[in-house]
Amino acid sequence: MKKIWIAGAVIAVAMMTGCGSSSNNDSGNNDGGTAIDLPDGKTLIFFDNASSEQYLYNTDTESYDDMNVAGENYDMTGKNAKLVMFDEKIVMIDEHFDITDANLSYEDMYYLGHFHEENSVPVFAAHNADEFDPAVASDAKLATIQSLNKHLIEQNEIKEEITEALPSGETLCNFFVFGHDEEATPHIALSTSGKVYVFEDGQDGLESSQAVFALDGVTECKENESSIVQEDEHGVIIFVAQSQKLYLADSHGEDFHVHSTLDVNRFLPTGFTPTIFTGIGEGEEHDHDH
């Protein structure tokens, strides 16, 4: 009997929805209703440095929005950039900027974005780079640029430390460091060959704390075609453009491992192939029973 009901329901749904999808390319859900196994409470921004396409994905509503809206501060149409996460802010900076060459100025950035809540709904807002021009910028904005530079310098120091810790033959592609105050601070390092190393502070600097694991489908990683962002206090989300996958790598008191893998084309518009991503938000812990 249940089978008959199911068959009836399937026919009814097919009749109501018709054939094909009605979603356009500006916003939508690209997974045909299948639940996406990403942590709730996250907003992810994906950017394709080749096409300048930029999409925002909300893990709560499981929907995406095209961010390249003409007239908006965060419109990246025709621009190339890389993303920096800093103090719960997203900074889109020039793709060629290198902190070892000089400090970052407002001319090296496109926008600084953040979220504020309107009726308990996170709303994305961005400040144009011109707002940080010392000629017009407020003290607070100038302080932000100063903090950003400090952050970039610190990150570069950590990068050099991790590079030294990598075994010979391996080159650092990307990295992420959990908190700074804890005794055992995991350093997640992604090599250019797609392997993930986990280091912790030891007596002689960083020491490997577990077996190295590889990201499935990755043989080549480039810094400007990969990203690592924090998922929650136990894990990170790694993105590599080569595989077009998100890897949720976490540790529940044990080794970091790839908990799950998600093809980005399951939830982003067809044909969009991001090169980098970032994300902010608390992010609920997913179930760690497995």
Binding site: A211, F213, L215, D287, D289
Partner: protein, 656 residues
């Protein structure tokens, strides 16, 4: 000793209507009959056949294990009310065969404690337990074979006319209940049988507390078309579809459940005789089994097995007092397993790049000595199996029957790791021939002697040498196991399981009202395949690096399983009231030859049951005592003893 007492009172109302529009309708004399399963069995040497209606009347639940657990030496390996696989004389999982007719059931219940048996016991017309030499006809199972028989397995067409059996019951503990409808129509040389079953229950309560995720739903539809081709030949076509959905009561914070479905299609040709061979049964069956494992709504696991089977069996006379049963069968099956969080709605082929195969697995092997994996737990596998078996029986007058049976099983096992994530493939430097195709052969031999010492006293004994080919899961599984929250490592180089099995059963009828039964068994395994906890040099259990779960290694070791059971039964009629008192004791021990015990063996237990029948009312009170686990394996958690008191009453209404 800590003993917990649980009081469980269940009340079932069973309404059965049965009418038959047959050629002749006879009014029968009203009689009071007991519904004890011990009264209904059709006991012949080494096999017992039970009427399913009677088992259902007596069962405390709806699983096959529930239906048979009152049999001496039989227990139900339960994992919530939806899961109950029979264990027989300490043998469980792959050591007990479950067959539909002669074909071993296409399910994965032997693989894991949380996988339900892929049938609803209520749908069978009869259930047979086959031990000793006769069981070799269906495979090599130390615990014997449990056969469920449907209408398609009857050589004759049903009685002409229309018959309808309906049954509705409800359960006071869980609400809802079961519905079954079984209808047959036979005319001329044709028959149609339609059998429908549905069972639904919410989570049950124990000592006033709701056991979360112990809900269950099952629905099955079975149809058989029969055609009597000639006086000697009847053909029956059947189709079956089944759905089960049930919660897994475990420690996880999110709901865990299993959604299972199975379809079977087949044809059975019954031939009364062809030349000198008799009772020829030839069957082809195709079946498709699949289940999803979900947690928090995410599809974290999927198991699927497609199976085809072609078999034939027949009897023939060798001499005046000697006859034989022959059976041969080809089975082909393909098994697929997916375990990846939220990604197991469909099976997928993994990405292949120029990256080194099995790199992550190798790194763990080098770092820990164990080739840990966090990918899919096993490759896709395909098995082609051929069984040939002969059971020769020689009768010495009315008092003795000697049986000699043997079988040979050949298997080709292929593994295709196309589903496995590249980085978790078995690395060639760990095991270079891990995915290579294997062919293997197992042979078993069994000798049985049934003797009637007097009209009151019968014994039967069997001695067997058994070989069992390890399952693909025992060989290949390498990963986390949800049901036991452990990390299990298969052994690709496992040898066949071998054992010498001795069973002896004695039945003594003191008088018409009082009878006794004793069984003793001793199974000496040269190679017993089981899961053993992995420990370090200090004896401390090793935990896997991903989940900190204990690591269990599949291995084959020398071991002994032995035990005995006693059953005493007393009947008393007082007017229209019929009483049956049954007492059972079961003692079982599993020892490793190297010292220590086999894990997960049933503790000692005793059951006392009083049944009462009055016209259509059947009531029974059962008290079951289970001892604490005394023979605990190294690093196995001990369980406390407990006692269970159960009361059920059912009303049976029948009309003709």
């Amino acid at each position: 000793m800590t003993t917990k007492y649980h009081l469980s009172v269940g009340a079932c109302v069973l309404l059965i209507s049965n009418f038959t529009l047959a050629d002749e309708v006879e009014l029968e004399q009203i009689t009071v009959e007991s519904h004890s399963i011990h009264e209904q069995e059709d006991q012949v040497s080494f096999s017992a056949s039970y009427d399913t209606d009677t088992l259902a009347n007596h069962a405390s639940g709806e699983t096959l294990g529930d239906y048979l657990s009152d049999q001496l030496g039989v227990d139900s390996a339960s994992y919530g009310p939806a899961v109950g696989r029979p264990t027989v004389r300490g043998m469980e999982g792959y050591r007990v065969g479950i067959a539909q007719g002669g074909i071993i059931l296409n399910d994965l219940s032997a693989m894991s404690q949380d996988h339900a048996v892929g049938l609803n016991a209520r749908m069978a017309e009869r259930i047979e337990m086959v031990k000793g030499p006769a069981s070799l006809l269906y495979g090599s199972y130390s615990g014997g074979v449990i056969r469920t028989l449907g209408e398609e397995h009857e050589a004759k067409l049903p009685k002409k006319g229309l018959s309808l059996d309906t049954s509705v019951s409800t359960n006071s503990n869980t609400g809802f209940g079961t519905t079954s409808v079984n209808s047959t129509y036979a005319f001329d040389a044709y028959s149609v049988n339609v059998n429908y079953y549905r069972n639904e229950a919410t989570s049950y309560k124990s000592v006033g507390e709701i056991v979360l995720d112990s809900d269950t739903f099952s629905e099955q539809f079975h149809a058989v078309l029969g055609w009597k081709i000639s006086q000697a030949h009847t053909i029956k076509f059947y189709a079956d579809t089944m759905d089960k959905e049930y919660g897994i009561p475990n420690g996880t914070t999110e709901r865990t459940d299993i959604s299972m479905e199975q379809q079977r299609y087949g044809v059975v040709l019954h031939s009364e005789s062809i030349g000198k061979i008799k009772n020829v049964i030839t069957e082809y069956q195709y079946s498709d089994y699949s289940h999803f494992e979900r947690e928090g709504g995410g599809y974290d696991g999927r198991f699927a097995q497609e199976q085809q089977s072609l078999s034939t069996q027949f009897d023939f006379d060798i001499a005046e007092s000697t006859d034989a049963n022959f059976r041969m069968e080809w089975t082909g099956n393909a098994l697929q397993v997916c375990h990846e969080h939220g990604r197991c709605r469909e099976f997928e082929d993994a990405t292949r790049t120029s990256a080194e195969d099995g790199l992550s697995l190798l790194n763990y092997y080098n770092a820990t000595g164990i080739a840990y994996s966090h990918g899919h737990p096993m490759p896709d596998t395909e098995e082609d199996k051929f069984l040939m078996a002969l059971n020769v029986k020689h009768y010495l007058g009315e008092s003795d029957e000697l049986s000699l049976a043997s079988n040979i099983v050949g298997r080709k096992l292929s593994a295709d790791p196309k589903n496995m994530q590249e980085t978790w493939l078995m690395h060639s430097s760990v095991d270079s021939d891990y995915y290579e195709t294997d062919t293997d052969v197992a042979a078993s031999l069994s000798l049985g002697w049934w003797h009637s010492w007097s009209e009151a006293f019968d014994t039967q004994a069997s001695l067997a040498y058994m070989q069992r080919l390890p399952s693909s899961q025992e060989l290949f599984w390498n990963g986390f196991h949800h049901a036991t929250e452990s990390y299990i490592i298969g052994d690709r180089d496992l040898d066949k399981e071998t054992s010498i099995n001795f069973d002896i059963d004695a039945m003594y009828k003191h008088n018409e009202a009082f009878s006794s039964r004793v069984s003793f068994y001793y199974y000496d395994f040269g190679n017993y395949i089981y899961q053993s906890p992995v420990v370090d040099d200090s004896g401390v259990p090793i935990l896997d690096p991903f989940h900190l779960s204990p690591v269990w290694q599949m291995q084959g070791v020398a071991a002994t399983v032995y035990g005995f059971g006693i059953e005493e039964k007393y009947k008393k009629n007082l007017g229209l009231h019929a009483f049956i008192f049954t007492a059972q004791l079961n003692f079982l021990k599993g020892e490793l030859d190297s010292g220590g015990y086999i894990p997960r063996m049933s503790p000692y237990n005793a059951t006392f049951c009083v049944e009462h029948d009055y016209e259509g009312l059947h009531s029974e009170v059962t008290y079951r005592w289970v001892d604490k686990s005394r023979n605990v394996a190294n690093n196995e958690t001990s369980t406390d003893g407990y006692a269970l008191l159960n009361f059920t009453t059912k009303y049976h209404y029948e009309t003709h």
